[in-house]
Amino acid sequence: MVAVVESRAEVTGTELSIRNVTKQFNIKGKSTPVIKDISLEVRAGEFVCIVGPSGCGKSTLLNLVAGLEHPEEGAIWEAKEQIQGPSRDRLMMFQDAALFPWLDVLGNVMFSLKLAPQIPKEKRIELAVRYLRMVGLGRFRRSFVHELSGGMKQRVALARALAADPSILLMDEPFAALDAMTREQLYFDLQHIWMSQKKTVLLVTHNIREAVCLGDRVVLMTGSPGIIKDQFEIDMPRPRDINSVSLAQTATNITHALKGAPAVFQGI
């Protein structure tokens, strides 16, 4: 399942820079800040997980980075460019795979490839098939979308996102709707793919263990308005096992930090 694919991302410097960003929504005619004065730097090739309770604004933050929404204050910079709107350089995956039912599996992966100008026409199919193989779905390229299970759909969405080779991959609770066994398999697969690609990833989740399992760094958010409460560097060898004791301990410590209680376990 693991294949080495050359990636554009250089493993140096700051890839993404969120500077003093505030976002407000109109709720019942009153403008309410959803996230307030958030600053975050993400290094190129870094896997950052943003964790927080529902409604803390973590998905909003991801939408801002994707360019699907715009901040009232502050700015977000990708490399040296300020983010103005959506771009295929910052590809986003959602909780729902959102595959297009009028295309088959291969067609869905091809959709993003056709929008990537740097990929020559004749290489598209080859690339699409390669990424489908990487997520373990090489045999399903001609399947209809509704014939796939939830986990398989999310794999296709992952292949679709990776194939276009974005600078940053944004993932908004991509595993939240899956059953535990499928989820654990996908943690494993995603880690292997990431280790071979070293892509910059920003993943939002409410599952602290998931964040510890996947991330180089776990960013803790609380609401409301959403602010960054704390950050944790996770220095554990990969691939990590979500069920391992040390991982569970780290996750428990972060959970306590979230609740404001002192850490129970030592070693963060």
Binding site: P86, R90, D96, A98, F111, S112, L115, F144, H146, A164
Partner: protein, 256 residues
Amino acid sequence: MNMRRITVSLLFFLVLLGGWEALVRFEIIDEFLFPAPTQILSYLIGALKDRSLIFASGITLKRLMMGYAVGLICGLPLGMLCARFKALDDTLGLLALGFQTLPSVCWVPLALLWFGQSEGAMLFVVIMGCLWSVLLAAKHGVEHVPPLFHRVASTMGSSGLHQALFVTLPAALPGILGGMKQGWAFAWRSLMAAEIYVTILTGFGLGHLLHYGRELHAMDQVFGVMLVIMLCGYLVDRVVFSPAERYLHRRWGTAA
């Protein structure tokens, strides 16, 4: 369809036709008002031989196709634009909603005064009959596209016309097909109403044949033409819409 269901259908129609034939033959019902199936059949064979039925069908279908085509060409893009631009929805969308509730035969007096007893009048009535329902169905089809599709497409770098053509349009297909089907049904009904109501000198359609059947009190002709009209509607549904619907259901995974 399996053999059992085919047998049941076949049996039903045989009993229906046989019973009908018998009732007329034994003079329980008056053949002057209610001719037997065999009499209707002999009219149909005669009308096919003297070609009157074929000409009439050709003229009717030509009017229908032209009107329907105009209805689709105008209605589909306008409906999609209504879904996209609120200002258009608040103006043209409201107008469409109003016109859609107007039975299309109500356009006939106006059409006659504007266009005279001409093909133009027929075309106008058919277009007015189907345009608005096609427009509204296309609008609803687009409005029901999951917003997530647009967000996903946007983050993959799709925008503007590309997104309209390669995301919105295919995603709205189930709704649009429903609208096309409804538009077809409305076009068919409008044209029949118009043809029965008005004599157009440039060609006699199926509606006229039906009308003259009544004038001449040729009940076999009235029944025969009704049968042909029914058959045309059925065939279009079977040949065009049903396969398209089946295809979409298979793709979307919504088939039973």
